[in-house]
C-alpha cells in the first residue's frame, strides 16, 4: 500500500530532491549578497544550476538498480520514469546553457530565473513518476506556476507581461478542469490511485456518465498544457511573448513531461475504458495534425511558427497514446527524446541570431545566414529537417515508429493523416531553411545591418551536441531503440 520505510521515498525521489535543494540554494545565494548588480551572476548561477542538473542525472543513473523494486507507493521508480527523467534533465540542461548569456544581457533576475527553471523540472519529473492523480496534480502545478512566472520574468517587456497573464489565466483554468476531472474519477472509482483505478475499471463494460466526464476533463487539462487543437489558442501568443530560452523550454519540457504522464495515465491505467475516450482522441489527433500544420504555413514570426509546429507534434504524439502498443510506446519515447534535442537546438540558434534579445524573429531575418554563419545555418537546417522527419535524422525514425504503431492497431486513417501533414510541414520547415541558404539579405533601409554573431561556448556546446545526437539518432537508431525497449511500461 505505501512505503513503510520513509527513506525509500527519499531514494525514489532523489533527482527531484537534489534539484529542489539546488534551486533553494540558488535563491538563498541570490539574496545573501547585496550586490545584485553583479555582472557575472548569470555565469556563476548558470553553472551552479547546471551542476544541479548533472547531480540529479547521476542520482538518476544510480536509481537503475532499484527500478521496479520501489514502485508500490504513489511514486513509480520504473525505467519509464527514469527515462523520462533523462529527457527532462537534458531539456533543462540545454535551456540553462542557452539562458546564461541571455539573462546577463537582458538583466533578468538571475537567481529567480534559474531557480524557477529547476523547480519546473522538479514538477515535471514528479508528475511523470507519480502513480496517483493527486501527485500528478501537484507536480503539474509546481511546473506550471514556475513557468507562468518565467514567461513574464522580463518585467520591462509588455509582450512578456501579456504572455504571462494569458498563460496564467488559461493555465489556471485548464488546471481547474483537470482537477475537476480528478475529483469526478475519484468519485466514481473510489480512489485517486492509478493502480486502484485500473482495478476498478477492469471489467467495466458500462461506464457511467461521471467516470467518462472525469476522464475527458482530465484529458482536456492535459490537452491545454500540450496545446492540442482546439485547446491551443494560448500557445502562439505565449510562445511569442516569453523570453526565448523559456519558449524553448516550454515547447520541449512541458510537452515532454505532460506526454509522458498522459501516456502513463491513459495508455496504461485507463486502457480498460479506451472505448470511452478513444473516439475523442482520434478526432483531436486528426484535427491537430491537419489544422496546426495548415496554420503554420502562413506564419512569419519564428516563435509563432515553432508554436504551431509544436502543436502539430502534439497531434502526432496523441496517436501513440491512442494506439498504445509497444511499438508506439517506443515511438513516443524516441520521438520525445529527439524532439527535445532538435527543438532546443533550434532555439539555441534563434537566441544566437536574435543576439540574446527579442528582435530579429521574422523568417525574413534569416536571409543570408548560410553565407555568414554556415555553422549555425547548417545546425538549424538539420534540426528543421529532424522536426520535419527527414530521413537520416532522428525525427525520421521517431515518425516511422509512430506510423508503425498506428498501423499495428489499425489506425489507418490517422497514419495517412500523419503522412499528409508531414508533407505539409516540409513546406514551412524548408521555407526557413531556404531563406537561410538561398536568399540574400534584403538591403532595405529600415532593417539595420545584422550584427556579427559571436557564439559563446555554452551555445556552441548545445549546437554541437544536439547536432551530433540528432544525426546519430537518425543513422544508428538501434542503440537508442534498444535502450528504450527496456524502458517501456508495456514490457
Amino acid at each position: 500500500m505505501s512505503f513503510l520505510n520513509q527513506w525509500n521515498y527519499f531514494l525514489a525521489l532523489g533527482p527531484q530532491a537534489i534539484l529542489t535543494t539546488f534551486a533553494i540554494g540558488i535563491l538563498l545565494f541570490g539574496v545573501s549578497r547585496n550586490n545584485t548588480s553583479d555582472e557575472h551572476q548569470g555565469w556563476l548561477l548558470g553553472r551552479i544550476s547546471l551542476a544541479g542538473v548533472i547531480a540529479a542525472g547521476i542520482v538518476n543513473a544510480g536509481l537503475y538498480p532499484f527500478a521496479d523494486r520501489l514502485s508500490d507507493g504513489i511514486v513509480a521508480v520504473d525505467r519509464y520514469a527514469l527515462f523520462s527523467n533523462w529527457v527532462l534533465l537534458l531539456g533543462s540542461a540545454m535551456a540553462i546553457l542557452i539562458s546564461i548569456s541571455y539573462v546577463e544581457k537582458q538583466r533578468i533576475q538571475v537567481p529567480e530565473y534559474f531557480a524557477l527553471l529547476l523547480f519546473a523540472t522538479v514538477g515535471l519529473m514528479l508528475m511523470t513518476a507519480s502513480l496517483d492523480l493527486m501527485l500528478v496534480f501537484i507536480g503539474l502545478e509546481i511546473a506550471s506556476i514556475s513557468v507562468y512566472a518565467l514567461a513574464t520574468i522580463d518585467q520591462r517587456s509588455p509582450k512578456g507581461s501579456e504572455a504571462g497573464l494569458k498563460y496564467f489565466l488559461l493555465g489556471a483554468f485548464s488546471t481547474g478542469i483537470f482537477l475537476y476531472g480528478v475529483a469526478l474519477i475519484y468519485g466514481s472509482t473510489g480512489s485517486a490511485n492509478l493502480t486502484e483505478i485500473l482495478n476498478a475499471t477492469v471489467d467495466a463494460d458500462d461506464t457511467g456518465v461521471m467516470l467518462i466526464t472525469g476522464v475527458i476533463m482530465l484529458a482536456v487539462g492535459f490537452c491545454f498544457k500540450v496545446g492540442v487543437v482546439p485547446f491551443h489558442m494560448w500557445t502562439p501568443d505565449v510562445y511569442q511573448g516569453s523570453p526565448m530560452p523559456i519558449t524553448g523550454y516550454m515547447s520541449v519540457a512541458i510537452k515532454a513531461g505532460a506526454f509522458f504522464t498522459f501516456y502513463r495515465i491513459f495508455g496504461i491505467y485507463l486502457d480498460n475504458i479506451q472505448f470511452s475516450w478513444g473516439t475523442v482522441f482520434w478526432w483531436l489527433a486528426l484535427v491537430t495534425m491537419i489544422g496546426a500544420n495548415l496554420v503554420a504555413l502562413v506564419q512569419n514570426n519564428i516563435k509563432r511558427l515553432l508554436a504551431y509546429s509544436g502543436i502539430a507534434h502534439s497531434g502526432y504524439l496523441l496517436i501513440t497514446v491512442l494506439a498504445n502498443n509497444t511499438t508506439s510506446e517506443s515511438g513516443l519515447l524516441y520521438y520525445l527524446a529527439v524532439y527535445t534535442v532538435a527543438n532546443m537546438g533550434l532555439f539555441a540558434g534563434f537566441v544566437l541570431v536574435a543576439n540574446h534579445a527579442e528582435h530579429r524573429v521574422e523568417v525574413s531575418d534569416y536571409a543570408g545566414l548560410g553565407s555568414k554563419q554556415p555553422f549555425i545555418a547548417m545546425a538549424l537546417t538539420v534540426f528543421l529537417l529532424s522536426l520535419g522527419g527527414f530521413p537520416a535524422t532522428g525525427g525520421f525514425i521517431g515518425k516511422i515508429l509512430i506510423l508503425r504503431g498506428a498501423l499495428e492497431d489499425n489506425y489507418l486513417l490517422l497514419a495517412i493523416a500523419l503522412v499528409i501533414s508531414t508533407l505539409i510541414s516540409y513546406w514551412y520547415y524548408l521555407r526557413l531553411a531556404w531563406f537561410m541558404w538561398m536568399k540574400e539579405q534584403a538591403a532595405t533601409p529600415n532593417t539595420e545591418k545584422a550584427p556579427e554573431i559571436e557564439i559563446p561556448l555554452a551555445l556552441k556546446l548545445v549546437l554541437a551536441v544536439s547536432l551530433v545526437l540528432i544525426v546519430y539518432a537518425g543513422i544508428f537508431p538501434s542503440q537508442l531503440i534498444g535502450f528504450i525497449e527496456t524502458s517501456l511500461l508495456k514490457g
Binding site: G73, T207, P230
Partner: protein, 173 residues
C-alpha cells in the same frame, strides 16, 4: 429536514456559482462566490466533515477571496471594459467544438449505464473510521502515511508560489 437543508445549501451553491458568471461587476461576482463557497462548507458539515468545513471557510472564503479582491482591484476591473471575445465565428467554433465533444461523449454512455461504476468499492463506512480515529484523524492518517510525498511536495509548491509572486511583483533594483 435534512434533505430540506441540503436543498437550500445546494441551491445557494449553484445559484452563487451562476451569480459569479452573470454578476454585473467583478466585486459582485466575488460576493456570489463567497456565498457559494460558504454553502459548500455547509454541505461539508452535513457530511460530518467539520475540519474541511472550517478549512473551507478560513482558507477559501477568507484568504483566497481577499486575494481575489486584491487582484480585481489591482487590475482595476469592473468598468468600461471591452469584451475580449472575438465575434460570431469564434463563438460558433467554440460551441461547435464543445457540442462535438459532448455528443461524442454522450454516444459513449451506455443507456443502462449507472452514474457510478458497477465495481464501486464501498469500503469501510466513513462513520466507523471517524469513530475510530476522530474527525481530523481520518484526514491525518492518509495524509501523513500514504500521501507523505504529496505533502512534502505541497511544501515545494508553496515555496514556488512565494518565489513566483516575488519575482513578478518585486522590481529588481
Amino acid at each position: 429536514m435534512d434533505s430540506l437543508i441540503y436543498f437550500v445549501l445546494a441551491s445557494v451553491t449553484v445559484g452563487g456559482a451562476l451569480g459569479v458568471v452573470f454578476g454585473r461587476s467583478p466585486i459582485a461576482s466575488l460576493l456570489f462566490m463567497i456565498a457559494s463557497l460558504g454553502s459548500t462548507a455547509g454541505i461539508y458539515v452535513m457530511l460530518e466533515a467539520h475540519f474541511l468545513a472550517a478549512i473551507q471557510i478560513i482558507v477559501y472564503a477568507g484568504a483566497i477571496m481577499v486575494l481575489f479582491l486584491f487582484v480585481i482591484m489591482l487590475l482595476n476591473l469592473g468598468h468600461d471594459y471591452k469584451r475580449d471575445i472575438r465575434g460570431g465565428l469564434a463563438i460558433l467554433f467554440a460551441f461547435g467544438v464543445t457540442g462535438g465533444i459532448g455528443g461524442l461523449l454522450a454516444s459513449r454512455v451506455m443507456p443502462e449505464g449507472t452514474l457510478l461504476l458497477n465495481s464501486y468499492p464501498t469500503g469501510v463506512s466513513i462513520d466507523t473510521e471517524i469513530a475510530e480515529k476522530g474527525i481530523i484523524g481520518v484526514i491525518a492518517e492518509p495524509l501523513f502515511n500514504e500521501y507523505i510525498v504529496a505533502f512534502e511536495f505541497t511544501g515545494v509548491l508553496l515555496f514556488v508560489a512565494i518565489v513566483g509572486a516575488l519575482a513578478l511583483a518585486k522590481r529588481s533594483d
